[in-house]
Structure formats: structure tokens, C-alpha cells
């Protein structure tokens, strides 16, 4: 184990996988000579050369399709977007081509491609650069969607995403790149897709949360334990499609209360689906209506005070948990 940043964990995952399999290549804007807009690909061009670490023109639709074509004939491309907001220009390649190629060809063409890059808000980048479009991609059959919140998860899940034979949308937290935690150094360390993790065990209420708001939820849990004596269980699904909903259901059946947190907008969000999963499969176990804490239902603002108001902050999560525990 070593304490490293989320950024370096991703770098390790890329490097280890590219050393393991010569069919893997990385492409995107500024991934090579610039060493990555967020330095995730630092040193890779020097080690692997330009055919395996390819700087692309600013042409997201073009290089996304390039990845799809390369995957159709057996390579394993990793497509980096400078932000997932820019991938809006490439969504035809992701949704129409990558997600459906296997199905439309009757299973003839697999699609081992990883689309990755920073997602969600950063600091004061305003509406076009601050979006958590997780549910857009999770909506699409044929895609897998992963959103790690810690350096350990980022490394283990990225390696699995790269090895997967299906297209994986890999959503990195733009504000998580500098965060640190213990990451296994063994080259065979991977974490399976589609497995939730209980990040903090608890008895009284279940919080389901992914990506950066995990850390707000953990802070909220600390506060409630200390101030209210409420024991909060925090579950991170980590993979949004397919989602390991069993871990969530098992928890809700014990705690009988649930709060779902996400950075994205509330309408048709990831939490909307989880609410449905719970009401279908654990309706009789609920002692309170499920609460959701989300990004504000507004475009992301520039002004610092408004931006902070937009996030699903720990204080909002505290209020929601108190509400479902009837302690407000």
C-alpha cells in the first residue's frame, strides 16, 4: 500500500495495463506532449510512443469514432475527454455507435473501449464545464458506467474497465484528482465492476452516494454520529450501470431508512432509479419516505456563493438524514 493521489492512481492503472497488453492505446486532447490536461497521463508518451499515446486534434466526435473503429477490429482504445462536458460533442459515437455495435451486429463485434475523463464541477468553471451527466450514460443499455470516489477505487476500477469487453464510461471527479488514499501497488490489483462497497458501516440509516459527494456524506455521517448519535451506513455503488443494488437493499432492510446523494441534477437522476429499486424490492421495510440530496436543479453558476449552494453539501445531507430519522 502507498498513499497516492487519485491522479497518480489513474496513471498507474493506465501504465500497468498498457504494459500488460500492447493492444491498449490512449488518445485524447493533450494526453501526450502536454502530459495530460490534469496530468493523468504523465510520462506515458515517453514510455509508449505516439501510436499508443496519441494527441488528438480538438475533434471529440472524430476521435471518439476513431476509438470505436479501432475497437471493432480488435484494439482496446482508451479515449480521454478533457471534460465530460466536451464529450457532448461526441455523444453520437458513444451512444449510437459504441453502445449498440454489438447488438446491431447480432453479437459479431465486441466493443472493448473505455471513455474516461473528469466529470462534475471544478472551481468556478460555470455551466458548460461543470456537469455531472452520469444518468445520461447510465440510461443507455450497452454502456457500463463507473464513477470512483477514491484513489483506490479509481485504480482498481479503471483497470477492470480497460479489461472489459464492453464500452465503459468512466467518470472521474474533477475535484478528486488531488485527493489521496491508500492504494495497493500490486500490478494484479483490480476491483470488479458492478460491486458496491460499504464505505462506512452503520445501523440507523443508509446513505447511497457516488463520486465526490461520497466525501460530503462521510463528513455528514461523522457529524451525526457525534451530535445526534445517529449511526449512518454509507454505500458507494461505484458502478452506476450495472449497479449492485443488492448491497443497497440489504442495508435498507436493516436500517429502514435511506438518503440518496448525487452531484447531478435531481430530475431523472441516478437516485431516481435507486428509489425505484428500493420501493419495488424493499417497500415494506421503509419507515420513512426516501430522501434525495442532489445538485441544484439549475445550470452551474460561476459566483462562489452560488456555486457552493449548488453542491449537495454535507450540511444538506445532515438535514436530509435527520428528516428521514424524524429528528429534525
Amino acid at each position: 500500500m502507498a498513499v497516492i493521489t487519485y491522479r497518480d492512481a489513474l496513471n498507474q492503472a493506465l501504465r500497468e495495463e498498457m504494459r500488460r497488453d500492447p493492444d491498449i492505446f490512449l488518445m485524447g486532447e493533450e494526453v501526450g506532449a502536454y502530459q495530460g490536461a490534469y496530468k493523468v497521463s504523465r510520462g506515458l508518451l515517453e514510455e509508449f510512443g505516439e501510436w499508443r499515446v496519441r494527441d488528438m486534434p480538438i475533434a471529440e466526435l472524430g476521435f471518439t469514432g476513431l476509438g470505436v473503429g479501432a475497437a471493432m477490429v480488435g484494439l482496446r482504445p482508451i479515449v480521454e475527454y478533457m471534460t465530460w462536458s466536451f464529450a457532448l460533442l461526441a455523444i453520437d459515437g458513444i451512444v449510437n455507435s459504441a453502445a449498440k455495435m454489438r447488438y446491431m451486429s447480432g453479437g459479431q463485434f465486441k466493443m472493448p473501449i473505455t471513455f474516461r475523463g473528469p466529470s462534475g464541477a471544478a472551481n468556478q468553471l460555470a455551466a458548460t464545464h461543470s456537469q455531472a451527466l452520469d444518468s445520461w450514460y447510465a440510461h443507455v443499455p450497452g454502456l457500463k458506467v463507473v464513477a470512483p470516489a477514491t484513489a483506490r477505487d479509481a485504480k482498481g476500477l479503471l483497470k477492470s474497465a480497460i479489461r472489459d469487453d464492453d464500452p465503459v464510461v468512466f467518470l472521474e471527479g474533477e475535484l478528486l484528482y488531488g485527493s489521496k488514499d491508500d492504494v495497493p501497488e500490486a500490478e494484479d490489483f483490480t476491483l470488479p465492476l458492478g460491486v458496491s462497497e460499504i464505505k462506512r458501516p452503520g445501523r440507523d440509516v443508509t446513505v447511497v452516494v457516488h463520486s465526490r459527494p461520497l466525501h460530503s456524506a462521510l463528513a455528514a455521517a461523522e457529524t451525526l454520529e457525534r451530535e445526534d448519535g445517529i449511526s449512518v451506513e454509507v454505500i458507494d455503488p461505484r458502478t452506476l450501470r450495472p449497479m449492485d443494488i443488492d448491497t443497497v437493499l440489504e442495508s435498507v432492510r436493516r436500517t429502514n431508512r435511506c438518503v440518496i446523494v448525487e452531484e447531478g441534477w435531481p430530475v431523472c437522476g441516478i437516485g431516481s432509479q435507486i428509489v425505484d429499486d428500493i420501493q419495488r424490492e424493499a417497500f415494506d421495510y421503509l419507515d420513512a419516505p426516501i430522501a434525495r440530496v442532489t445538485g441544484a436543479d439549475a445550470p452551474h453558476p460561476y459566483a462562489t456563493n452560488l456555486e457552493q449552494l449548488h453542491f449537495p453539501q454535507a450540511d444538506l445531507i445532515v438535514k436530509a438524514i435527520r428528516q428521514v430519522c424524524y429528528r429534525d
Binding site: 501510436w51 476521435f63 473503429g69 471493432m72 477490429v73 459515437g93 459479431q108 443499455p141
Partner: protein, 347 residues
């Protein structure tokens, strides 16, 4: 700059077998599409069905010189490209019928034909969406350092979409062995090319990309198409340089089966003019006759052989079962559908 080529009365040094083979493919393409149209009228074929009648010289001229390990990708008017590339006619017809023995097990339909066994990579129905895919195939060829080539067909309307520039720029930038062939059939659906593109010859756009050669050619002459594609393929195979060929052609039928052959956007006279004086099959037969390459019995032999192939394809499609209900959820992921419990249970 694009090179304008207009004449081709030489037989390209091809032997009789190769010349007759091209005619056979053109006639098979024509008859297959005529039958597909009939099957649509009878309700056996559904969805959008875009027929290739009138454009046969392009697919046949472009695909016959390729090697079996080259790659081919096209748009949604794809039946004849699949046929000439070597797909089983029965599998294509069964796909049009939506049957389990179709090339995509009935899940793709007319616009999404695929056959990995002959390196036919679709069948793509979002205009422009497949050009970057072709570039990726070219990238993989360079990545593996082989001498394969990717041939990418596109319609004239694609020349105006952003993906066209993104793809051609990358093909030239990375020096990829991709041959782009614009099938300019004069109309993007019902919009005449001159009403959509601010340029006379679409292949002139090649001059925007270093190392890319452009040709505008007579797409009704199969030998002209073949000669040009051979040049472009050689540039790709030996020099890793992309090309842009514009083959000027014409579809004798509507955009799809729901579009009449003439009416609002083109006149009856225009269509009849092309059919009477610019039919690529008639024109090619005249050339072969003039050179003494074929005799009347060859034509009747080809027609008889082709009729049997088409008849058999329809029979095969009719005999093939429809997909099973479980197939709805197959082939979405590499493993069994992982979110199965989120389905509604009543289906």
C-alpha cells in the same frame, strides 16, 4: 486539387472472367434490390429500406479490386455493398425480413448490415457517424503495421457534416490508409446537392488536407470507378495516404421505399433521362459487347443465375424463424444482461 477523369473505354487490362464477374455483381445488385422492394411492398420487409438501384457501378467498381483482408464500411444504403463484399444473399434478405438467420439475427435490419467474416463493418445509419469509425480502422491498420486498406463509402450529404472534416483531417494527419468514396447521387434525401453544399465538386474538398488526393469521376462507369479506386487503394496500401473519390451517380428510385421515384424534388423527365441514357448496367454491357467480351447467351446465363440466387435468398428468409423473445436481451453486453432485475417483469 481534385483530378477530373471522364473517359474510360479501356478494359483496364482485366481478363474476361474479371470483367464478366463485375457485370454479374451489378446485375445481382439490381435484381436483389428490385426483389427487396417487392418484399417491402408485400409487407415482408419493414422499417426504412433504401435501395441502390442505379448506383451499382460504384459499389462494384470499388469493391472488386479489394483484397479479402481489407476493410469495408458504408452508410445505410448498404445491401449491395454487403453482397459484393461477399455476404451471403440469404443472410441479407433474412435480415431485411427480421429473421434469426439474418446477418445480425434480425436486430439490425436494412440499414445495419454487418459481416465480420468478410470484414464488412456496417451498415451505419447516422449520417456522418461512420467516417470517424473508418479512420479508426485505418488507425488500427497503421498500429499493427499491415498493408491493409479501409474503404469507406458515404453519401453526398456527408460532405457537409462536421464529422466529415474531423475524419478527413485525422486520416491525413496520421497518414492512414483510408479511401473515402462519396456516392454523389445528386440528392441528400430530397435536397439537391447544390442546395446543401457550397462547392461544385465535392472531391475538391480533398485539397484542404495535406497528402489527400481528390478525384471527381463518372460514377456510372464501373471501369472508371474501378480504375480510380485501384489508384487510391495503391496510394493507401503502399504510401499510407488517404484519398477522396467523388463518384457522380444517380438513384433511379426514391430515397427510401416511402419516397416516390419522382415528384416534389425531381421530375419524372429527369429520372427517365438517367434511366434511358445513363444506366450503369446498360452502359457496361455496351462496352463489353463492343469489345466482344460477352455474347447474348452470357447475359441470359447471368440473369438466370442471379434469379436463382435472389429466389433462394427470399426462400431462405421466409423459412427462417423470427427471433425468440429472449433474444431481445441478448448481445447487449459481453456477459448475460447484468441489470435484468430492473426490467419490468410482465414482458
Amino acid at each position: 486539387m481534385a483530378t477530373k477523369i471522364t473517359q474510360s473505354d479501356k478494359l483496364l487490362g482485366l481478363d474476361r472472367a474479371a470483367l464478366v464477374e463485375m457485370l454479374r455483381w451489378m446485375i445481382l445488385g439490381r435484381r436483389f434490390e428490385e426483389r427487396a422492394g417487392e418484399m417491402y411492398q408485400l409487407g415482408e420487409v419493414g422499417g426504412f429500406c433504401h435501395l441502390y438501384i442505379g448506383q451499382e457501378a460504384v459499389a462494384v467498381g470499388a469493391l472488386t479490386p479489394l483484397r479479402s483482408d481489407d476493410y469495408v464500411i458504408t452508410a445505410y444504403r448498404d445491401h449491395v455493398h454487403g453482397l459484393v463484399r461477399g455476404m451471403d444473399p440469404g443472410a441479407i434478405m433474412a435480415e431485411l425480413f427480421g429473421r434469426i438467420d439474418g446477418s445480425s439475427k434480425g436486430k439490425g435490419g436494412s440499414m445495419h448490415l454487418f459481416d465480420s467474416s468478410v470484414n464488412f463493418l456496417g451498415g451505419h445509419a447516422i449520417v456522418g457517424g461512420h467516417l470517424p469509425i473508418a479512420v479508426g480502422i485505418g488507425y488500427a491498420i497503421r498500429y499493427r503495421d499491415t498493408d491493409q486498406v479501409c474503404v469507406c463509402f458515404l453519401g453526398d450529404s456527408v460532405a457537409n457534416i462536421g464529422a466529415f472534416n474531423e475524419a478527413l483531417n485525422m486520416a491525413a494527419l496520421f497518414q492512414l490508409p483510408v479511401v473515402f468514396i462519396i456516392e454523389n447521387n445528386q440528392y441528400g434525401m430530397g435536397t439537391a446537392v447544390h442546395r446543401a453544399a457550397a462547392i461544385e465538386n465535392l472531391a475538391d474538398r480533398a485539397c484542404a488536407y495535406s497528402g489527400m488526393q481528390g478525384w471527381t469521376i463518372e460514377g456510372m462507369e464501373v471501369l472508371e470507378v474501378r480504375r480510380t479506386v485501384e489508384l487510391a487503394v495503391e496510394r493507401a496500401r503502399s504510401h499510407k495516404l488517404p484519398s477522396l473519390i467523388e463518384a457522380k451517380t444517380y438513384r433511379f428510385v426514391g430515397h427510401s421505399m416511402s419516397d416516390p421515384n419522382y415528384g416534389h424534388y425531381r421530375t419524372k423527365e429527369e429520372v427517365h433521362q438517367f434511366k434511358a441514357h445513363d444506366d450503369p448496367i446498360k452502359g457496361y454491357i455496351e462496352i463489353l459487347r463492343a469489345h466482344g467480351t460477352i455474347k447474348e447467351s452470357d447475359l441470359s446465363d447471368i440473369e438466370a443465375e442471379v434469379k436463382k440466387i435472389v429466389d433462394d435468398s427470399v426462400e431462405f428468409a421466409k423459412q427462417s424463424p423470427v427471433p425468440q423473445p429472449d433474444d431481445l436481451y441478448n448481445d447487449i453486453y459481453s456477459e448475460e444482461y447484468p441489470d435484468a432485475r430492473r426490467r419490468d417483469p410482465w414482458r
